[in-house]
Each structure stands twice: as C-alpha cells, then as structure tokens.
Symmetry: C2
Subunit: 395 residues, 2 copies
C-alpha cells in the first residue's frame, strides 16, 4: 500500500486483508431476488413516515433539523424503553443509547471492547456485515457452530474448557443473534440461552445480543438473553430496520450504565436528530402492536410459501432450516459449490447469497446458501425456488 506509513497501527492487520464492502450478487433484471434482506415493500410505512415528516416540521419547524432540540428525541427513548419493558427487558433511561442502526451499535461496542489482541467468539455462520466489522478490529476470532437450536453451547463449553486447560488467552466477547438468526433463521433454545449465560459468568466474557429480528416471531415470543441476564453481561442491540425501515437507521444499545457512558463518548455527534424525531412522530401515530402483527403475518405466510416450494421442488439431498420467525432460510446442498453455482442461478433468474460470505472459515459455507423470504412477493418466492431447484437438479 502506497500510504501504509500514515495508517494507524491499529488497522494494519485489517487493511492487509481483502478489499472492503459487504458482498452482494449482481442481480440481472427479471431475476427473483432471494438474496436481499430488505423488508417487504408493502410493510414499509411510506405514507405514514411521509405524514410524520409533514406533521413534525409543521409543528416544530426547524427544531428537529438542528443538532439537538426536538423533544421527539427524548420521546423516542421513552418509546423504546416502553417497548423493551413489554418484552421483559428492564432498562433505565441511562442504560439506553440510540444508534444509527444496529451496525453502528456493533461497531461502537467493538470499538470500546476489541483491540487486535482481543479474542472474540462468533457464531458460524453469522451476519456478514458484523463479521466484517469485527475483522476490522481483530484477527483473533473463534467460531462455534449454529445448528437447528441455535449456537451449540456444548461445543462452546468444550472450546472454553480446552483453552483454559491449555492456558490460552480467553475470549472477552461473544456475538450472537439468538433469535431467528441471520443467516440460518434458527433460534437458540431456552436451555442453551441459560447455558450460554452460565458459561459467560464462569469464563468471564460479555455477550453481544443482536435482536434485530426478535419481534418477528410467527408463534410465541422468545425471551431475550438480556431478559435472562442477572449479571449485566449482555449488551443488547435492538433495531427498527426490520420492522419499520432500514433507511431510517434507528438502532440502539441497552446495557449497564458504564458501557452506555463509554459508548456515548465514542459515538460523539453521530446521531441523526432528524431521523430520530421522524421515527418518534411515526411511532406515536401508529398502533405499534398491530403493525408488528401485520409484519409477523406477512413474513409467516411468505416463509410458509418458501418452505412449501422447497418441499415441492428441491432434489432429495437438499435440506433447509425451518424458521419460527425473521427473514431467512439456510439451505444445504451437499456436494455443491454455491459460489460457483450462483452465475447459473442468476442466469436462470434467481439470486441468493452463497454461504461462504457468512463464514470466517469460508469453506464451511461452501455447500450452503441463504434464501430470504422477506422482500420478494409470494409468487416470486415460489418461482424463484423452482428455478433454483432446477439449477441444483441439473448439475
């Protein structure tokens, strides 16, 4: 690198790796987009947000357009606290920090916790954007597999026991999406949740709980790790991206006061007062529970349609997860290189994300792929799965 001399030594190991950017397939026109983790267009409250802007600016004029000043920003805090209370997450005002989406939350937490000597634990597979963020901070990443009951805590315990025995450095942080995981759609069982928190206590590490999909349960709601946490080890990350609109970039962290204070210090002026004020105005204007229920119903129906289509069309050896919520299904096609197959698939008219992009050890994702049922219409989902099955069957 021409400019290596000038770079911070803290990023030297990161910048020696591959160029940046979350990987997304090229999707030709007319292609069914099962790659995209966007919300369903009909569930994005376009008119309500537009009306919220008009109402807000009529009432408050320039106030929400300055750095600070709109009372809506405090209102958004109250709304998020109330919603968490309803979900048995008991958090005080000073334990809440609003961020610019879940990604800023993850990046900020990484910034205050992780240096290049810090060992961390990720699920395998995991959210690819988070994987990239963590790789920007450390190369010392351990992984634990996810199965149909979420993160395999027995394997986690085995890993921790072995490292302890061998006197190896112990991890300080574990990042998990316990509920309707991205990319697998699986959910960590209650038994494992408790096991994980016990391990965190015994081996003294923190847990970053990314709950971006938690509200989107097709059946019973699942208790968050944060609601089970008795030691303040869980840094909870929430987001309105999947239930309102990602472009509004409203996320948050709920954690002990000392964490929030430090996160706030490093966040600096990176708030979005306007977006936050609009969101508060919007939330005050809708029946939130009924909006969430519509989201759950639509995604449940779409998930069902995708599973039906998979059952109908897929070759026998292909298997997939059966989510109880969220946006994604994780598919295993034994013997297939899903990266190689993608070109054929998009030519045939369907896109997905190859499994390797969600895995630190990319070979672990070679015969896997992520399908999203969130954005495409039901009939597109069926047709997309049919096309994918054809491509898989033809090999």
């Amino acid at each position: 690198m021409k400019y290596l001399y000038y770079f911070s030594k803290n990023i030297h190991s990161a910048i020696k790796q591959d160029p940046p950017g979350t990987w997304m397939p090229h999707v030709p026109k007319g292609c069914v987009r099962l790659s995209s983790g966007f919300p369903d267009a009909s569930l994005v409250p376009v008119d309500e947000l537009s009306q919220a802007v008009t109402l807000l600016l009529n009432e408050e004029r320039d106030l929400p357009l300055h750095y600070i000043g709109s009372p809506q920003i405090e209102k958004l805090h109250t709304q998020l606290l109330e919603r968490m209370t309803e979900r048995n997450i008991s958090v005080k005002r000073e334990e809440l920090l609003i961020t610019s989406g879940a990604c800023q939350a993850i990046d900020l937490i990484a910034r205050i916790l992780i240096d290049e000597d810090t060992y961390i634990i990720l699920e395998s597979p995991t959210y690819m954007e988070a994987l990239e963020i963590f790789q920007n901070y450390t190369g010392r990443i351990l992984t634990v597999p996810v199965d149909e009951h979420g993160l395999n805590t027995d394997m986690l315990e085995e890993l921790l026991v072995k490292r302890k025995q061998k006197g190896k450095p112990m991890p300080k942080v574990l990042y998990t999406i316990p509920t309707f995981q991205n990319p697998t759609g699986t959910t960590m069982s209650i038994t494992r949740r408790k096991h994980l928190l016990n391990l965190a206590s015994t081996y003294d590490f923190l847990v970053m709980e990314d709950d971006a999909y938690g509200e989107l349960h097709f059946h019973e709601p699942v208790p968050t790790l944060k609601s089970l946490d008795r030691e303040g080890r869980v840094l909870y990350i929430g987001s309105l991206s999947k239930v309102v609109a990602p472009g509004m970039r409203i996320g948050w962290v709920a954690a002990d006061r000392e964490w929030i204070q430090t996160l706030f210090r490093f966040k600096k002026d990176l708030d979005h007062p306007f977006a936050q004020s609009v969101m508060a105005t919007f939330l005050a204007s809708v029946d939130w529970e009924s909006h969430l229920q519509s989201c759950r119903d639509v995604y449940h129906r779409k998930c069902h349609a995708m599973i039906d289509a998979l059952t109908t069309y897929m070759p026998r050896e292909v298997t997939w997860t059966k989510p109880d919520g969220g946006y994604f299904i994780w598919l295993t096609a034994p013997g297939v290189d899903t990266t190689e197959l993608l070109n054929q698939a998009t030519q045939k008219g369907v896109s997905y994300i190859p499994g390797k992009h969600f895995c630190l050890e990319q070979e672990h994702g070679q015969d896997k792929l992520r399908l999203s049922f969130s954005a495409a219409r039901e009939e597109e989902i069926v047709e997309g799965v049919r096309r994918l099955a054809e491509v898989l069957g033809r090999r």
Copy 2:
C-alpha cells in the same frame, strides 16, 4: 473503572480522562443565546425539506427507505462533485465519500490514521468537538496558535524544525479549519496556505481541511487548501450543516482514492440513505447559488450588527476578531476568567462559550470566549452584547 478489564487497550488512555460530552452552558429562559452554533432559523429550509420528503416518497415509495436503492444517493454525489468543481476542487467520483456530517468524517479519518503513538497537530484554539474526537485516539497532540491570519505557519515551522533537530517523533496529521475558523472566525492567508502545504511536503504530514464554513464568505471566496494541493496531502471535509441543516447530517470527505477506499471500509453500513435521498431531492429543487447568497447576506448583516454592538458597548481593553465569513467572533477580555464569569452572564441574560473549551491547554483560553452571531436575531445580538459588556464592565 469497574469494567476496565474488558475495554480495548486502544481506548485505555482516553477513558482515564474526564467524562465525555461536548460542553454547553445551561441557558436560562429569556437568555440571549450567543453560545449556540446553530444556523439562523429563517435560513433552515423547513418547508422545502418537507416538500422534498413528500416528493421523494411519492415518486420512489419505499426505495429511499431501504439500505440502498434510491438513485438520489448517486445524484447527491454528483451534486457535491459539481459544487466542488465550481470551487476549483477537482475530485473524481471515487475520491468522494459521503458521511454522517463532518464529525463522522473527522472520526473516520482519525480512526484510520491515528493510534495512541501518533503525533498530531491541532490549531489552538480549535473546534471543541474535533478536539474531543482526537483525544479519543491519542494523547500526543501538539498545538500551534491561530492569529488574525489563521494558523501561524511560522510557529508551525519552528515546531517542526525543532522536533526534527532533536530527533523527536514527527507528526503525521494536522487538522485545520482554514476558512472562517471555529471558534475564532479568522481565515488563513493565501501565503500561509502555501507555506502550510510546503511544510506538509517537507515534513511529510497530511492535512485535514475542515471547510464547514467555506461557503459563507461575506466578500470574495477563499481558495481551499485542497484546491492548492498538488501532492494529495489534503483530506478535505465538507458539510451541509451550516448551509442547509445540521440535523440532516450530510458531510463528506474528498481525498485520494486509497484514503476513500479505506474510509469506506471502516464506515461500513453507517450511511443514512433516507437523509441523503432527501438532501439530493432538496438540492435539485432549489436555486443553490441564491440560497447560499441569502445565507451570506444574513450572516454578514448579523456579524456587522455584532461588531457594531461590540464597538459601542465593550470596555476599552476588550478586543475581538473581525471575521470575513462564518458564524463566530472570538473575544479577548484581558484579566477575566470567562469560565467564572459565565454564571453572572447567563443571570444577566446572555450566554457564550468560555474559551477554555476550545483549547487543549485550557489556560490558554481563560480570558477568551466565543460569540456566535448565527442563531440569535439581530436585535437579540445587540442586546446580548450590551448585557455581556455590562457584566464585563462591572467586574
């Protein structure tokens, strides 16, 4: 700190210092707010932004509310590039990165360049938010005074020569607001701009040029450092906060491609697609040159009113800068402790920011204070200055 064990070693020295947060005075009701760096309320295009939102969401529906997708985001890049071209800053698309305000730009650049061993140079006084951001990365901060012609480059040269002679570590980055500086309102002369760039070349450091106020010239425009830079040493930081609305959080970096690529990598998903799309729609709908001219006229008039009032009311020993643009005047009251005086002043009905908050060595700002003529109305400015003069005269 209870949790010190868990923190990244990269922030250990930062978190041992004072608690976070940009300092702002408590301003009682009825107080003339000369502390606030907000734009004039009448210049914030509330209705135009509201209309832009309505237009955008009517036309594009959910597109600008997803992570990516709205063509407006690319349009905003074009608009910023065109505007820079008009100001003789010749930058290609791949040399531009839109950020969440100038603060994200400063923080991101600091992140990729500065570790706790990096020496940097700041102006004294300087933008307090930037000072806090840099202190989050390094304690090795050198300062060079600003006088009525901006950063004193002779003193900078002296500092560099001495460090070189003594074999001390040399600074890698200098941060400056060369035009209508925050907090002094002064502007670096052309001679000094060239001198600075020569020094950067000779002593091999980079220059962060914060140009948040550059468009707000009362007379002739001033050439940016970036437009004079022949070696790619300047990382230019632009912002629409002072000329449209801070709450929209639109800033940018213009710099060589390798910098932009690395900044992009660390910025991750921290864009604000909605805010960016609204801004592009707004910019397409206004006569930008005429909007800027209105801003210049209003701030010129207010600055004039403030200087007139200062001349009329201030005790003889008090002096102040005479800005050719921007938002601020820097006042020196020999023998006064402006931090101690603030309580009296706000009781008397006027607020300001004590000079120490803009200085790394806080004692350098003891008898200084920053007055802002941007937000208060003209008659308020006159009355505020009168009140301040009374408090200063009474001591």
